[in-house]
């Protein structure tokens, strides 16, 4: 059924008007803190670039607030978000524990994959689980989809998990054969060694649906109405293509569309 152009115009205007009403700017009466973590295409400290960096720049610009951006390990980010010492971080996923102390503004979704060395002969998840000598590298405090979480927890019980503070040492250990597998997301390939890593590894999929990622906001440091204001900024970034443009800088268009238009 085709709608008359006039009607579409009115509907669009009404939508925009309602958004403008809702998009009250956040209270900028104090400086805020935002932490990035060094994580593949999300952020690389070597290049000071990444999706999260771009998103944070856009978010800060739209908010009109003073936001201090720093780099710290992911585990520390979660500790500080929980304590209220840190206001924001990016590309976070939730679980029941995190929902207690953090609020999220979703802006992309993707799946998790097991990246394994070719020389392990692993083609399925069960192959990895069955081989007791294979170690899985995991960034401490990282959680994934239900299937991937169960996979990690099972290996953890058998003391086959090696913790690291970030992606770079995990890739380094993978290439040095100190670990034989790690869980990655599409943006996790390091910018510099991507080709050599792709050549030495293969991808095994988890049977998990895509997992939402978003802006992490500390419930302890931000009141509920402020959370909503910050969330509206992310919504507007998605709605009007700013986010898609950012993702298209790092991924082919079809993958970027899939991730943002979940």
């Amino acid at each position: 059924m085709a709608w008359p152009p006039q009607l579409l115009l009115i509907a669009a205007f009404a939508g925009f008007a309602s958004f403008v009403n809702a998009a009250e700017p956040p209270d900028c009466s104090r400086p805020f803190t935002l932490a990035l973590h060094d994580h593949g295409l999300l952020y690389s400290s070597e290049t000071d670039k990444g999706i999260d960096k771009d998103v944070s720049d856009e978010l800060i610009a739209r908010s009109g607030c003073k936001v201090t951006v720093s780099l710290m390990p992911r585990a520390r980010i979660w500790q500080l978000i929980e304590s209220g010492a840190l206001d924001f971080s990016l590309s976070g996923i939730t679980n029941s524990e995190r929902d207690v102390f953090a609020s999220f503004a979703w802006y992309f979704s993707n799946k998790y994959y097991l990246l394994v060395r070719n020389d392990t002969g692993v083609h399925q998840l069960a192959d990895f689980e069955r081989a007791p000598h294979l170690r899985l590298g995991v960034i401490r405090s990282f959680r994934f989809g239900p299937g991937a979480n169960a996979f990690v927890d099972g290996l953890l019980e058998r003391q086959r998990v090696v913790y690291a503070g970030g992606l770079p040492p995990l890739y380094e250990m993978l290439m040095a054969d100190r670990i034989q597998g790690m869980i990655i997301e599409p943006f996790d390939y390091p910018a510099l060694q991507e080709q050599s890593i792709r050549a030495a590894t293969r991808i095994v999929e988890f049977n998990d649906p895509s997992v939402l990622h978003g802006l992490i906001m500390s419930r302890k440091s931000l009141p509920a109405n402020e959370l909503e204001k910050w969330r509206n900024i992310i919504v507007s970034m998605r709605r009007y293509g700013a986010l898609l443009n950012i993702f298209r800088k790092y991924f082919p268009d079809d993958i970027a569309d899939t991730m943002v238009n979940y």
Partner: protein
Amino acid sequence: MQKIYHYIPTLIVLIVSLAVTYLAWQHERDIARRDLQSTLDFQLRQTTSRIEQRMAAYEEMLRGVQGLFTASGEVGPAAFTRYIDALKLGADFSGVMGIGLTPIVLPAELDSFTARMRVEGHPDFHVWPDGNRDMYAPFAQIEPPFGRNLRALGFDPLFDHTRRIAMEQARDSGNAVLSGKIKLAIDDDATDKPGFLMILPIYKAGRPHDTQVDRQTAISGWVISIFRMSDLMASLYGEGTDGLVTEIFDGITPSEKNLLFLGASTDGGPAHYTASEVIVVSGHSWTVEIHATTSFEERFSKDKSDLILLAGTVFGLLLTVISWQMATARARAVAIAETMTSELKESEACWKFALEGAGDGVWDWHVLTGELRYSEHWKAILGPAGGADNDGMQGWISHIHPDDLAAERACFEACLAGKTPLYHHDHRIRWTDGTWHWMTVRGMVVAWDADGTPLRMIGTVSDISERRESEERIRHLAQHDPLTNLPNRALFSDRLQTALALAKRNGEQVALMFVDLDRFKPINDRFGHAVGDLLLKEVAKRMRHCVRDSDTVARIGGDEFVVLLPAVGSAVDAALVAEKIRAALARDFFLADQHMDISSSIGVALFPQDGHDAITLSKNADDAMYRAKQCGRNRVQLVRERTDPGPSDTTSP
């Protein structure tokens, strides 16, 4: 084979109990190990968290220095010193050996730079190590400027590959970067303590440094914190829990070459548990490993698996023993029963042999079923008719002499009723050949039911015929005259007493006769004792023919006889018998081809007329007999003078 079969359940119990124990032991051990590993992981997390936070603080401190240059552009040595002083780096920053400034010096500027440094108070300043490089970044200032720190002045870190990489990485990212493991320039050759640098770039004021290219162009130098690892770790109060050994390695590979720090444990033996994590500090990876020593394990381990192993094994063995007891109970009971049966059979055989050898028979009577079993000897005595098992007790009873039956039954029933503990009775039994034998039969009840009803009775039977005959013969000899086989004085006296007692009770009369042979002595003298004895035997025979069976003829002296007539009707009857005897003895005797002629004098006393007791009666009868002698012999004399005298009292030929 059967024995092995008995052991299978026991073996299964043993295997199962030991297997369960093993599984429980393993499970408990795994849980304890997991707990301990979890505790160790927590300790590791604490350690890495402290390191990360401390390094973040150092980074913030260095950013302050960077901020000074960003804000001020050119910063003179005095301002730099004042700024560092103003930071008041206390004990928490004791790991920082110094904070240095390394401006970029191009080869063309090297001489003027050196000259300026010498003018500014460092007369011996020179850039070292020597050599031509495309760019220099010598330490132009180091705070605090004391002692060994001054040794670093002029040192160009770009000369060293490890330092240069970190400096370039910091330059390109604009962020703080940690160098790899190095030997510090402030240390002399003798000091071998690993160190590292934290490097932050300084860009020219007013120049953009948004992109990597911008940053490479705008770089003017670096601020560098110099760390000695051991001092850094010492400044982390509560460096570790007792019993833990902490090791930090540069990079992702733990090796001696990469060892940055080795914390000594104050106690405990070699480590069994290890936890490690690769942390990222200012863009650089460190591997942190902590090892739990035995003292840590003792303090935190909840491992009770050894106790479970011990208790499980003991319980399992106990269970095995019990199951072995249960499994083999029947077999052992059967074995015991067989042994007992065998012993019993042996015992029975012995008893049987003993009893049979002694001439005894054995009987076994089951009261309820009536089944009566005999030994072979008993069967031989009674024969098939009397001893057949199927005849039972009635068959046995039919063999008992009728005269003995009542007494025997009374004795038997008394025992069966429990009135007497033993059944013991002598009675006559008719053997299969029809002869009567005196048997002594013994028995006792050996089994009762709950109500006390006898169930089984066993006993023996012995043939006592010969003993009884022997006893009878002895008794006969003791009571009879061996020549005439007539009762002697003792038996006669006994019978007299019995007869008197009966007569008194029944109101009857008893006659007592004293018979003395006349002219016997001449015959004895003339023909000899042998003939005299023959005569006496014949006399006895004739006398016995003159009386009833119930009467008694006894010999009480050489030629003296007595006759007892119990229940005699009257004195006349007694006199008639006496006369009959006198007449019998008066007839001629032909013995040993000799003719002999004797007679007899007989005195008769009657009870109760002639006396109430045996003595009186005997005396009166004797007196009467003498009177008959005196009156001419061959006569019968009643005790007439004390009774009713009359002509008929005296008889004569």
